[in-house]
């Protein structure tokens, strides 16, 4: 066990996996000599060499496409896109090749690969270093979309993703990269990709959240002594229906909190799924506290993302209902 930040935990996970399996190749912009702009791949070039830790030309389409080819040919590629905001020239590869390869070939080809990318706000990066684009991936059939909320989960979920025989979009909340340390095993371990985590028990309402919003939800609930159950989804697609439904049926009130904008978001899908299955259990409307439905502005980022005031207003509304 070592006290690690999320960055250190991810780095440790990559190192454990690469040590074990020489088919793993990392690639991306500045991941080699520089160790990644957030330092997630720091030290790995020196240890594993340029055949396995590859600085690439500046072309997201190429990074993803090249990784797909490696994984089609029996390697396990782990491409990094420097910021999720720059992934869009690779979307054709992600949607049309990566996500569909197993299905359209009926499993003739499978794609074990993990596409890592930092997302969300927290570094005052304005419209192009702060986006929360998870729904572009969750609405694509065939992808597994994972997002950790703490260093322990980050490493364990990453190692599970690497072992999966299907493509994973691994979204790293950059606001949590250096947000705090926790005890993380130095050795190899896994966290179940198909299980949400109940991070706090409570009776009055259930809060569904994930990734960058989790620590905020937790601190808000604790500070204000709310008797809320908090569920961290960990994997957005396919999400853990059983854990969610058990929570909803227990408390009968649901709040969904995410940093991405509201319209057509993850919250909408969760809300619809819950309504379809458990309308009789609900004592109040399902509420959402999310990022605003505008691009993320540079100077006023803290008003764009959910904050304690907005979360508490929604909680109070639900409790009074």
């Amino acid at each position: 066990m070592t006290q690690m930040t999320m960055v250190k935990a991810l780095n440790s996970g990559l190192n454990n996996a690469m040590e074990k399996d020489d088919s793993i190749i990392l690639l991306g912009e500045d991941v080699g000599t520089d160790g990644g702009v957030f330092r997630v791949t720091d030290g790995l070039l020196a240890k594993y060499g340029k055949e396995r830790v590859m600085d690439t030309p500046l072309a997201e389409l190429g990074i993803v496409g090249f990784g797909i080819g490696m994984s089609m040919a029996g390697l396990k590629s782990i491409p990094e896109i420097q910021f999720q905001d720059f992934i869009y020239t690779a979307m054709d590869q992600i949607i049309n090749q990566m996500a569909k390869l197993r299905y359209r070939t009926n499993g003739d080809y499978t794609l074990p690969m993990v596409l890592r990318t930092p997302y969300g706000g927290g570094v005052h990066g304005g419209p192009y270093h702060s986006q929360s684009g998870e729904v572009y991936f969750t609405h694509t059939q065939g992808l597994t979309v994972v997002t950790p909320s703490n260093p322990y989960d980050a490493k364990g979920l990453l190692l599970s993703s690497i072992e999966l025989n299907d493509p994973v979009i691994f979204l790293e909340p950059k606001r949590l990269y250096y947000a705090g340390k926790m005890e993380v095993p130095d050795d190899y371990y896994k966290v179940d990709l198909r299980k949400a985590s109940v991070i706090r028990e409570g009776d009055d309402l259930t809060i569904l959240t994930y990734g960058p919003a989790v620590p905020l939800v937790k601190s808000t609930v604790e500070k204000n002594n709310v008797n809320a159950q908090i569920i961290d989804l960990r994997t957005l697609s396919p999400f853990d229906l059983d854990t969610i439904m058990a929570g909803v049926k227990k408390t009968g009130k649901v709040l969904i909190v995410h940093e991405a904008p509201k319209m057509f978001g993850v919250g909408a899908e969760l809300s619809a799924t819950i309504s379809e299955r458990a309308i009789d259990y609900l004592a109040a409307p399902i509420l959402r506290v999310t990022g605003l439905d505008i691009p993320i502005p540079f100077a006023l980022e803290e008003y764009y993302v959910p904050n304690e005031r907005r979360i508490m207003a929604a909680i109070e509304k639900l409790l009074k209902y």
């Binding site: 190749i25 055949e51 590859m54 690439t56 030309p57 072309a59 389409l61 190429g62 993803v64 496409g65 090249f66 990784g67 797909i68 080819g69 490696m70 994984s71 089609m72 040919a73 029996g74 390697l75 590629s77 020239t89 054709d92 590869q93 049309n96 090749q97 390869l101 197993r102 299905y103 359209r104 070939t105 009926n106 499993g107 003739d108 080809y109 499978t110 059939q141 065939g142 597994t144 999966l164 025989n165 299907d166 198909r194 396919p238 229906l241």
Partner: protein, 344 residues
Amino acid sequence: MIEETDISKEGLLTAYKNIVMERLFDKKMLNASRQGFLPFYIPLMGHEAIHIGLGMAIREEDFFYPYYRDFGVLLQMGIPMDTILSQVFATATDNEIGRDMPDHFSLKKYNIGAVITPVAGHLTSATGIAYAKKYRKQNGSVITTFGDGATSTPDFHVAMNFAGVYNLPMVFFVENNQFAISVPTYPTEDKAFNQTYEETKGAIYKKAEAYGFNGVRIDGTNFIEVYRETRKALENAESGPLLIEAMTYRMGPHSTADDPNKYRTTTVVEGGEKDPVTVSQKILKDMAILTDKDIDDINKDMEETTSQLIDKYEKAPKPDKSTMMGNLYEQEPWYISEERGDIQ
């Protein structure tokens, strides 16, 4: 000029038979599509010499990542007819169980990639496959084919740049049929139509130079030249990539949904001097390998073979609807299991 080659007389005759077979399949499939047996089809006319030459050149240790107009390459490579035709007719026995359009083969066990519809969508994948070969120190090279129109895409340029930077064992092979649907590759002289713009101003084969390797232009109607240049390229690729631009002409429509009379004067017609079938006959006659009688006999023979096959596959059973939901993920998510119940 009489061609010289290391291929035996028998090998050349087999190649010629496959050229004829491809042509006949093509006509019959167009027919099948008119009669409603095939909802969609991609004609091959004009590509036969390229396809058969490629099939001769590709070695067992090579990896081939084709595009959607490469049916004939598989014939010459010796892929079982059942595998090919059950894919084209999307039958129950297709290894993709009818999930993708005709000619979208996926044949991993033959070292063949999964054909993808988005133009050039496979070029960066092919490049990654070449890297895997190099990393694992495996013998052989990767060859990927695509159209002239594909050279306008970002994928082409990115893949070429990656292949140059990592010095990959790779052959980029352009089947230049002079059109991307209706848009000419290069400026044309066709006065009958108002062709306003073209795909590119610069010669395609020269584009390799900017990425640090060589490009060559070859005659795509001469199957012996295609074979020779491609085989050489595959052998040499182990020390770095090459771009080949093979020149031919798309004699038919782009697809069964297209009418070329709207946008061009068709200049190469069946039996004409530049028809690859005619060119092949001339080459082999000049080499004293083929006689007029052989030509007739082969035609009759192939006519019968292809008719019987098409007959069989156009009537073959389609996949059952219960197969539709499988193999999206290795571990099926709950909502997929639920949606199985929605199929009615």
